[in-house]
Every structure is written in C-alpha cells, then in structure tokens.
Symmetry: C2
Subunit: 428 residues, 2 copies
C-alpha cells in the first residue's frame, strides 16, 4: 500500500514542522483576503472537482483495490467509495459554502461610550485548524472549504485508506486557491500515512496549530481529546435523551420518539435513552413502546417498565451510559421533570436532549437546569445538526464549553477583535 505520497517515517517530524510553518505563513494573506477572492477560490475548487472527476475516480479505484486486499468491512468500503454522483455532491457542497455570508469583518456588537469612543467587536479568522479524520474522502473537500471561508489555514490529515482519493481531491482545492491567487498552503494535506504525523499535530506543531477537530469514531476522538496539547472541538459521544412528560400530547410523543430513535440510528443526534414521566405510565408508556417496537426498535427497560411491557430486555447500569448507534433504546420511568433532569445530568454526554410536554413551567425547568449543548422542546433530537440550524455546512458538533459549542460551522471557526474609533480621546 505504499503510494507515491508516502514518506519514510524518520522524516515525519521535520515534514510536519514544515507544514506547520507554511500554514502559519498563509494565515495573514488569508486573513486579509477579500470576501470576493475567497468566494472565487471556492467556486474554482468546485469547478476543479467536477473537471477532475476521472482523476479522482482513478485515485479512488486504487484505494478501493487496497481496501479489498486489506479486507475492510462493507460499511467502511461504502464510505470510501466515490461515484460521479458523490463527486457532484462534493462540488455542490463546496459551492454552498462559497455562497455563505463571509464572516470575517462582520460586526458582532457595537456600542458607544460616554466619552465618545465607538467600540465594535468584529469577527476575525481563528487561526490554523487541524482536521484529523477517517477514511471519508469527502471530508477533505468539506473541511478544506469551510476553513477557507472562515479565513483559516487548514492542515488535513485523512485516513490512510483513502489517501489516494484525498490527494486527488486536495489537488482540486489547491487549483482553486491558485486560480484566485490565494496561497496554496492555505489548504494542506499531510502527504504521509505515517501515524506519527497525528502525534505531531496533537503536540501542536510548535505553536503553529491553534485548534484540532477530529472527525471519526470514538477511539479517534478519545485519543485526540486525551493527548492534544491544543484546544479540541469535538464530541466524544452523543448519549441523547428524550423525556416524555405527563403533559405531552400522545400522538406528538409517539411521532417524536420514533423519529428521534429510528430516522437514522447511526448519527450522534439519535436518541439513546427514553425517559417517561411516571405519571404518564398508564397513558403514554405502552403506545410509545409499541410504536418503537413496530418500527423495529429493541427495548432495554428498567424494572418498572418491564413490569408493564414484557417485550423488552432488562436494562443494566451500563445501558444508561451507552451510545448504541443502533435500533436499541434504553427506557426508564422517572419522577416527572425533576427525575428526568437528575437522570440526564448523571448520564448525559451533554450533546442533545429533548422534552415533549405541554406544560410551560416544566419546559422552562428542563431548558434552564440541563447543561447540554442543544435542548429541544416538542421536536426530534435528530435536528441536532448545523444544516438544520440554518448555519450551512458544519464540521461537527462540539460538547465542550470553550469557544464553540453545538454545531461547529463557519462562525464557530472565527475569533474577534475590537475596533475603537475616537476623536482624540486620552485617558484621565
């Protein structure tokens, strides 16, 4: 599987240091590039991806052949595989990012001081972003385009199994940068599959990497969160809860429960635990569980629930901590919203929680007392998504509370500075 962009291991530290320096050098020209120039470069990237279809597919064929030899699993191979339609989607994705409002220079807040100073807080790029991802070639395009839009140089480190596909896509992004006279180093792809490259990124490339965004499974995110010496925007898991209050409309509760769990079971916003108000045990419990079973969902139930609904497996303590990412849900009776809040604050991964209720005071308690990135009332947890929030593309969802929280889109990839306008003021 040694390819043309493989480098011997001993060079990796030097290579990564050089990549870091190049990224830092690209930061200033990128920060002061006009919105028009960035837009033009993104359109150029999308066009280059479409023009490069044959080259990208040929590179992808090498990755697929290597993947077959390495006997990679079917779902892995499906994520790896590119088709003309997927390449068109990728180009459309870049084009959509091009059309987002340019965040750099946007005035977020402004106010006047009694001495006549006018203060503005304006958005600036955040710095050099590192994206570490598994073998989904499209992340190369998404992450590259999103960071460029926010004015941030990006260092992309894709999975080794998609290295040929990513390199071909990356070449198209660089074409767009060059055509718009932006520095080619604004989007760099780490040209080695040596895992030591990731270690160098986690150490921060001597101060030349400002934030790391991992995209991938639990073990990747866990390693990044544990070892990174720079800030990380990520979520480790999405143990999302749905609470059905006694005041909930039954039809709505059923529709939301089935959608929150079963629409797509493999995404981070899928509900993993269903909490039902004990006061609704005789009204809501059975209809909701029957609907879930009918939709093909397995139920892991606590003793109270089991007593009422036998078509279930007994839940153990582990269930409350488990992100199934599958057609399984853990179900528990709780003592009203207080019980729901207690359970969620104990077991949640602070990603997304939803309540179905008609009682306004109950909803306010749920909203005020739960400390998760996203709280929803009378809506499915599966809306936890930057696109659904109207932010355009997102690079992931963060559960940390520092800087970015919830969907990480183009705005979350910016910082700010203050511009103060005076007329000769001096301080007394």
């Amino acid at each position: 599987m040694l390819t043309t962009h493989e480098k011997p291991r001993e060079d990796t530290a030097a290579l990564m240091a050089d990549i870091g320096r190049r990224a830092r050098a690209a930061a200033r020209p990128l920060a002061i590039a006009s919105a028009e120039r960035k837009h033009a470069s993104l359109i150029g990237m999308a066009d280059a991806v479409l023009r490069g279809e044959d080259t990208i597919l040929a590179a992808n064929a090498i990755d697929l052949r290597n993947g077959e030899e390495a006997r990679l699993g079917a779902s892995f191979m499906d994520r790896l595989k590119l088709t003309p339609a997927r390449i068109r989607d990728m180009a459309d994705g870049i084009r959509a990012i091009a059309e987002l409002r340019d965040p750099v220079g946007e005035v977020i807040a402004e106010w006047d001081r009694p001495n006549g100073l006018h203060i503005e807080r304006v958005r600036t790029p955040l710095g050099v972003v590192g994206v570490i991802y598994e073998s989904r070639p499209n992340v190369t395009a998404d992450a590259g385009a999103l960071c460029l839009k926010a004015g941030n140089p990006v260092i992309l480190r894709g999975g080794s199994d998609s290295s040929n596909s990513s390199a071909a896509i990356h070449a198209c992004l660089v074409e767009g940068l060059k055509a718009a006279k932006l520095p080619a180093d604004a989007i760099q792809l780490v040209p080695t599959t040596d895992r030591a490259a990731v270690g160098e990124m986690l150490k921060g490339l001597s101060g030349n990497l400002d934030v790391i965004i991992p995209r991938g499974g639990r073990s990747l995110v866990e390693r990044v969160q544990n070892e990174a010496r720079v800030p990380v925007f990520a979520h480790l898991e999405g143990i999302c809860h749905l609470y059905i209050d006694a005041s909930a409309k039954l039809d709505m509760a059923i529709a939301i429960a089935v959608n929150a769990k079963m629409r797509r079971t493999g995404i981070c916003g899928a509900a993993e635990t269903l909490l039902i108000d004990r006061a609704a045990a005789s009204t809501h419990l059975l209809p909701v569980l029957k609907a879930l079973r009918k939709a093909g969902c397995e139920i892991h139930a606590d003793t109270d629930v089991l007593a009422a609904f036998a078509d279930a497996t007994p839940a153990t303590e582990t269930d409350w901590f488990t992100e199934y990412l599958d057609a399984i849900i853990a179900v528990k009776l709780v003592d009203g919203v207080s019980g729901a809040i207690e359970h969620i604050e104990t077991y949640s991964s602070h990603h997304t929680e939803a309540i179905v209720a008609e009682d306004a005071a109950t909803v306010e308690r749920f909203f005020n007392e739960i400390d998760s990135a996203i709280l929803l009332h009378n809506a499915s947890t599966q809306f936890a998504d930057g696109g659904e929030f109207g932010m355009g593309a997102e690079i992931g969802i963060a559960t940390g509370k520092m800087h970015a929280r919830g969907p990480v889109g183009v705005e979350q990839l910016t910082s700010f500075k203050y511009r103060v306008r005076g007329s000769g003021q001096v301080r007394a």
Copy 2:
C-alpha cells in the same frame, strides 16, 4: 511564616483533588441559582467585607510583618498593604459587580427556521475557573465576585505573602454565599502556600478545572501558559504600538502619544513603541518627541530618528521586543501605514495598537490588517481596559483567540447553549 492554614506538602495533591471535586459539585446549584440570589450573595459579601475590616486589617498586619522580615521590596509591600480606604474600595468593587446585568440565561441570538423551529442561543456559566495570582489581596474579592456573577465556581490561589489577608477576605465572601444559601464551595481559597498546589491546578484537577486565569507578572503568566493542560485566559505582555500617520493632526498626535506612554507606564496598555510615518518626519517627529522628553520619557531611537533628534539612545533589535513598563519608548520611522503594519505584525504581542490619522482609507487598512485584540483610532492605548469598554469589572486582558479575547469580564466568563422550541417537528 508558617500560619494556621498551612498544610504539610504531602497532603497537597489530595487536598487539591478534594477542592476540585467540591468546585465541580458546586457548579450545578450555582448554574441554576436565580439572578436575585446571586445578587444578594454579592451584596452580603460586600457587607461582610465592611463589617470584617478589623479582622482583615489584623490578618494583613501579619502579612506585612512577615513581608518586612522577608525584606520584600517597597512596591511589593505597597500592593500588599490594606487600609480602611482600600477595604472600602474592595466592598464597592463587589457591589459594582452585583449591579451588573446577570449574564446567565441572556438570549444572545435567536432565529426561526422554515419548518417553524425557533432557535435561541443563551448564555450559560463556563465551568470551574482557577485564578492564580500574586500578593494583591484585593484580587481575592474581585475574582471571587466576578466568577460568582457568571455562575462559575472559582478556585483562588493567591500569593503566599498575602495568605493571611486573602484568607480573611475569603471568609467574608463565604459569609455572603452562606447568607444567600449558595454553596460555600462556590468560592474556595487554596489553604496552603505549598507551590505544588499550583502544579496540581495546571494539571487540571482531574478534569474538575475548566480554565485558568493567571494574574501577575511575566514569570507567573509564562509558567501557566507553558504548563497548563487546560485553557488559559491571559496575556504574556503588552507590547503596544502607537502609529502616527502623516495625515494625523499634530496636536492630537502629541496628546495621544504622551497619554499612551506616560499616563501610567506600568500597565499592559501603555505604549511601548512609537512608529512615525516617514512622510511626517519633518512635521510631526520633533514636536512629538519633545513633548515626550518634556514629560520625562526616555527615547530609544532608530538611526533615522537619531539623525533628527539627538536627545535619545540608539535602539537595538531588542527594543522592538521590549515591554518597558517604564518611562521609556522605542521610536522608529516607517514607510506609511504599510510599514507600520509590517513592524507591528512582526513585533507585537497582539494586545493593543493605536493609529492617529485623518485619512479614512489608512485607518481601515490598520484596522483590517492588524491581528491584535484591540485596535484604536485617534485614541490612547491606555483605554485597553474592561471598565473603559463599559464591561464593568475585568479579571484581565486576553491575547489568545480562543473563547475570550481582549478584556475578560463577566460575559467572557460564560459559554452558551441552544434552546430549540418546536410544535411536534420530526426530521424528514
């Protein structure tokens, strides 16, 4: 200097772990405490500080006696010394924080989606804050009150030379917390002068410390920035620049230069380097330098400036990197705003820079192309201060770009979450 709150060294790791756990346990009750309760606790703290004047002064007398025995310097002793007037100022400071708008629950942004979902981004507390400071007893009150207002538990680690004073002040803060029925652990003072306690904080107290704010001199901030495994809000130095453009009004340039450098030379917002447009060498240079000399400022000048103004010391490369914090300024001729931007982007600490100019396009280039936390036009760099920005109290100024930048006040000590209100929406 062993005092009653000293503990033997071997207990420090266990002690700090316990402090971290207590802080984390206080986070939730504090996060959901009403604005009224937090306000009442702050007023209670201010009252307790006033009532406790004798006790605080007695504790301070012990610190002063120890300081004399240890032959601490005069300016150090001055910062350490409390008086009835300083205690009144401290109580007034707490009261001013009490009267700030409560940030928790504030809706920062809200919008509607085509499917009818209403999305709000609302402020939440940030988490457990650690403040590491030198022997200024008043920081105990300021930092404790500011963190409480934002709903964050705080772990205060004051300088060992002020340990008795800080303990007496801390007791008053706890009195205010208890009277308002808030957890006493919301504001903890590390009860040991063992330096290993700082090391434990820098390691993050097993995930129970979310951010560290160092308050003190360069060596403290440098150690914290280098060693902390959690985010840090700080600035290492304030190498602030003042650029005088050829389009500047001369009188304004003189007034701002003298104020930016000489109003207070020891603060981080004091100008350290003066850049003058080469096109203004014959008009602005001498009057500005003469005014600075007359105000008692020493001039370190580059060759071009020396040729025109002999009453100066030749500047070396080191001068451009130096934060004098004294009545000294480095002066250089530059080629217009482009030259000023080049110099600033090379040597600045990205804290605060000011331009004096009448030409609007020149000002916009300065504002757009310089990446510092605060940029001012026709105003003194000494306005770089949370109070002057109208933010109320500040805990310091940050030059990092992650989360907080510029003055760190109560808003910068918050995070946010999303509240989404629906009417039964499920995702397609």
